[in-house]
Symmetry: C2
Subunit: 307 residues, 2 copies
Amino acid sequence: MSQNFADRLAQSVKSKGNAVLVGIDPRPDQLPSHWIESFQGDVVRAVQEFGTEVVRTVAPLVPAVKFQMAFYEALGPTGMIALEATANCARENGLLVIMDGKRNDIGSTAAAYATAYVGSPEGGPENSSPAWTSDALTINPYLGGEGITPFLQGCRHTGAGLFLLVRTSNPSAGEFQDLIADGKPVYRHVADRMMNWAEPFRGECGYSSLGAVVGATSPAQLAELRQVLRGIWILVPGYGAQGGTAADVAVAFDEQGLGAIVNNSRGITFAYQKSEFATRFGSNWQASVREATLTMIKDLAKHTAKT
Amino acid sequence: MSQNFADRLAQSVKSKGNAVLVGIDPRPDQLPSHWIESFQGDVVRAVQEFGTEVVRTVAPLVPAVKFQMAFYEALGPTGMIALEATANCARENGLLVIMDGKRNDIGSTAAAYATAYVGSPEGGPENSSPAWTSDALTINPYLGGEGITPFLQGCRHTGAGLFLLVRTSNPSAGEFQDLIADGKPVYRHVADRMMNWAEPFRGECGYSSLGAVVGATSPAQLAELRQVLRGIWILVPGYGAQGGTAADVAVAFDEQGLGAIVNNSRGITFAYQKSEFATRFGSNWQASVREATLTMIKDLAKHTAKT
């Protein structure tokens, strides 16, 4: 995967004609009960097969999937094997794989996380790809530039990507991120600082392989950060279940329909729980996944430029 | 493990007579070459057996070990199985296990990380312990209180502990953590805020199961934060290889020798690389681990009150 992640993402968004990022957050207690039962209590296997079914269902429709690592970690070590198997299935089906791990650490430890998910900072033929099936990783900025650099070095060798948490979508996001220092909020310090880090990773599409996470739940901040983060892919969580709308996220796209990918997890993978889908598809939860994905694609298209 | 983590840590520090936290960061390229070779290129097994040897060597001497998860994740999914096996060995040998994962996320995703490493926020008999062998987890504050609460809820049910990153030990730590907002640095906002979160978790020893990470490389900030963080266990990284001295960390302890645990990773596990140990112990790297641990115990004892 030596090509620049930003360019691979742009190509995938163009070829699929949308910027929907399907989030796979397999909470066991949210899986269809008949699905869980069919695996005779083997929760890890039920989760893995659920994930691969989601992957196969959405692969013809969307450019990328995002794995919420926490839900696999919650299953213990065997959950991590299920994660890798599902990520591998996603890649085999032509999807870009974003690992949502929000990893962070300093120096040599950040280098180890880089080795795991974006590639070793040391490069070389034996380090030509990360240890896991992963095209990009979400990372946390609290530790400063020294906690970011090893990830960037890894990306330089492998062409992988990163999404740095800038302004998150949760209700308490502002508690530290919105503190005002030197006349601007902490998240703006992060955003301004990341522009230097991103520059060497700019692809032919005009965007960098160092992207940003900016929630859809604060539309004013999303609009502000879209202006600041020129040439930065924005991963937008918060659409759907968290309250963000297509109109809210439209501002994150450029006139070509590039520059943002919009995540939806529960609203797609657990669409079977909504009465509108349940009445139509019954126990065929895969059909609900497909229909919810198509609905979101149409919803975004109404508010954004055509790709 | 229903007893409060803070009390278990206090008991373990008292019974071992020191507050040394051995960090297990198994970089494959730092393992003794004869050790790696003896596993015929099976790096994961070499790492696992190295870790269990370290555990058995230090178990009679120190209260706790800290696993740097990144180095196991860098080995791919099978590395995670090695991590769990090594953590299990540590528990069987009477050591408290701290998972250094610096995890963080929002709401239900934070709940999944809690389920993994400190216990499910939902409690109940089927959730009486975390999915992994873990007594405490390091967490990152950037997402605010809503990213912390699920971890605290998990700890309430299981008696596990947490260490919140307040001021880290790396050179670029200050880039965002030291920004001044409302007259005080961001890390002080985190420290002040965590006092409320910590209060319900105070044990009989007077300390809370919600601890803090404060680096030893900024002695002035460590002294400041020791004053602010009353009744908070401080996990102090930065001793040894990163430049912190026993005199630097002494300020973190109370008059009983409680209140802080001091991490040393490379300086202990890879002590065999130092000429002072290499000449004495040769290829017996376990003897170097033991001697380096004893040296650190004595070094701290010189500067802190007796336990």
